[in-house]
């Protein structure tokens, strides 16, 4: 969108001001994240840049916080917990969320909006309220402080993301494709796995990524519903901040940022692949 030759002085000023504002917004969003990365290579146990680091002296940098993360048993337990809880919670969210989205996209579902609102509510209700509610409910049925308790709690938080992304994909889904499959003799299950699922897969996968990140980043619910044995990475970071203020947290944060970027890149690649398959953009 280049500036047209007939632009008035005011339009010219706005043209550049707009770009400056955009740059500021990006700076505001990105800087706190980016600054963490060099800090995580700090040779000292500080959260600030040392004079050596500012002078780019190699002695000011070290991998000791990363080493700490990979050797400290507390961090190792937290990593293991996060990596066992998040995938299971994601699996449950994706299965239930996808089925719910497909069900709600059918033509004649009574109370469609009400059901949708209830399923989406974990995203809207303040987390602390959900967490407190789950704490009392899970205590009553013996799930509090167990692996499955945390998994189910995280699955509930992940379901809205899956429903929203899959519903969005289903809007563009041509119902005559499932009818065509049926006319060729494929039963509902075969039609789902061979025709519908491959085509809505990008929506399912983005939902899965959001559900995974939700569980992976979540601290409030896990503190309520989990016990010391389910200590996850965010929980460990939270404790680390409160009790020991170790820059290892920065190393962990950097790794999590890297993981998020990796997941988002995967998402984008899948989206493009799907568009190409549907012939929406030239291959």
């Amino acid at each position: 969108m280049a500036l047209p030759s007939y632009a008035s002085p005011l339009q010219r000023v706005w043209y550049y001001a707009f770009r400056v504002i955009c740059a500021l917004v990006f700076f505001y969003l990105m800087f706190p994240i980016l600054v963490i990365v060099p800090l995580s290579f700090n040779a000292e146990n500080f959260f600030t840049f040392t004079p050596e680091m500012l002078a780019l002296d190699p002695a000011g940098f070290s991998l000791k916080h990363y080493v700490d993360f990979f050797t400290n048993p507390d961090w190792q337990l937290a990593t293991r917990n996060s990596l066992t809880i998040a995938p299971m919670a994601t699996l449950i969210s994706v299965s239930l969320g996808t089925l719910a989205a497909i069900g709600l996209s059918q033509a004649h579902v009574p109370f469609k909006r009400a059901i949708m609102a209830i399923l989406i509510s974990p995203m809207i209700v303040p987390l602390i309220i959900s967490a407190a509610g789950m704490y009392f409910f899970f205590s009553a049925i013996g799930l509090q402080g167990t692996y499955w308790g945390v998994v189910l709690a995280h699955a509930i938080l992940g379901i809205p993301f899956v429903i929203i992304t899959v519903t969005a994909t289903l809007v563009g889904f041509d119902r005559s494709l499932t009818r065509a499959a049926a006319s060729m003799g494929a039963g509902p299950v075969k039609t789902f796995f061979k025709v519908q699922l491959p085509l809505i897969l990008p929506g399912v996968i983005s939902g899965a990524l959001f559900a995974f990140i939700t569980s992976f980043d979540e601290v409030v619910v896990v503190i309520f519903v989990g016990s010391a044995a389910q200590q996850t990475l965010p929980w460990q970071m939270f404790i680390g901040l409160r009790e020991q203020i170790s820059p290892t947290i920065l190393a962990v944060a950097s790794l999590m940022v890297a993981l998020s970027i990796l997941l988002l890149a995967t998402l984008e690649i899948l989206r493009r692949r799907n568009e190409r398959l549907r012939g929406m953009s030239p291959g």
């Binding site: 065509a180 499959a181 006319s183 060729m184 003799g185 039963g187 509902p188 039609t191 025709v195 549907r278």
Partner: protein, 365 residues
């Protein structure tokens, strides 16, 4: 037709359909198709023709009545167990599969072995002249090519009945005409029973063995194309199929298959009674533009002649169209061939026209 109600390859027996439990979209449908017939359901949108097709395919359930396929009721059989091939208006090819994979799908579902599948796929693609496109994806093909593939996919598992839901609706005119020919040719060569839904009457007339004209949830007339055009049984069919002039009046005398009708302005004309039974009944007569005669020498000596005023003379190359004012109707069209011995008219000219009594059909008002 000598066939009884439930004797036929495809039978609709007193079928009704309502979506909301109050209004009937399909009202009392009775239809019997012999094996190998090409039947077209023709009608304006909302006439119930697509609903009928969907009930036959199993995607909608009949509210009342029975549908039989090969003498077996199919009301309670799910679509995927009916073994009916179907071609959709938007082709409905699976975009994530290649053309060959699309055709392979119905065969895999039937548990067919790889070599057998490959043979059938090749034959089906060759049949629609798409043999070289097996490895392409649907998005890489043009609309006409996609439609051919959709046709091949509906035929590859050798169903005895194929349903087509406005399959040529999205193609341009030239391609459509070519595909009409190809589809009828294929259907007849393979001996498949075909139910074809369209709102295009030319398509219906050129392709079908019989056409069922739908309106208001009922079949208005079920007849071969020629009967439909030449001998419409009611004024809806007369108006819907082809071009028709209509004049309104009252039946004056009936004598066997001849009657006279006094039009509202007092003019008396000859007609053939179709669904009027006694003198004094109101009627709407219908005459095809090409059956209107302006040369009295070619009419019977006792034929009634009607005064007409030429309003417009339209040169159309192979034919002439003359818009006339006849008995207060400003939109009466006469059409005749551009030939040496045919005269031309100019606006304002007063002429006399007439017709053979059997070409002028006295229908319901």
């Amino acid at each position: 037709m000598s066939e009884t109600r439930t004797d036929g390859f495809v039978v609709f027996d007193r079928v009704q359909k309502s979506y909301d439990g109050e209004t009937l979209v399909v009202k009392d449908l009775n239809l019997s198709m012999p094996k190998g017939e090409f039947l077209t359901m023709l009608g304006p949108s909302g006439s119930g023709k697509t609903t009928c097709l969907m009930m036959l395919a199993g995607f909608e359930t009949a509210t009342h009545g029975e549908i039989l396929l090969d003498h077996k009721p199919i009301n309670n059989i799910p679509p995927h167990k009916r073994g009916i091939g179907m071609v959709f208006q938007n082709y409905a090819l699976f975009p994530h599969m290649t053309i060959a994979e699309n055709l392979s799908f119905p065969l895999e579902v039937r548990g067919m072995g790889k070599s057998e599948r490959e043979g059938k796929i090749r034959r089906a693609l060759d049949m629609v002249q798409m043999g070289e496109f097996g490895n392409r994806r649907p998005a890489q093909l043009s609309g006409g090519q996609q439609q051919r593939v959709a046709l091949a996919r509906a035929l590859v598992f050798e169903p005895e009945l194929v349903l087509m839901d406005e399959p040529l609706g999205a193609l341009d005119k030239q391609l459509r005409e070519h595909m009409q020919f190809e589809i009828t040719n294929l259907a007849h060569t393979l001996g498949i029973t075909t139910v074809y839904v369209t709102h295009d009457q030319t398509e219906a007339l050129t392709m079908s063995d019989r056409v069922a004209v739908f309106n208001d949830g009922r079949i208005q007339q079920l007849a071969p194309p020629e009967d439909l055009y030449e001998r419409p049984e009611n004024s809806f069919v007369a108006q819907f199929i082809g071009e028709n002039n209509k004049l309104e009046g009252v039946v004056e005398t009936i004598n066997g298959d001849r009657c006279t009708v006094r039009l509202d302005d007092g003019t008396v004309i000859d007609a053939k009674p179709v669904n009027v039974t006694k003198a004094g009944e109101r009627t709407r007569v219908s005459i095809r533009p090409e059956r209107v005669e302006s040369n009295p020498d070619r009419l019977a000596s006792d034929a009634h002649l009607v005064d007409a005023e030429v309003l417009e003379f339209i040169y159309m190359g192979d034919t002439f169209r003359v818009r006339l004012r006849v008995a207060g109707n400003d939109d009466f069209i006469m059409k005749y061939r551009n030939a040496q011995d045919q005269g031309r008219y100019s606006p304002g000219q007063k002429i006399q026209i007439g017709w053979q009594a059997e070409d002028c059909r006295a229908l319901d008002a």
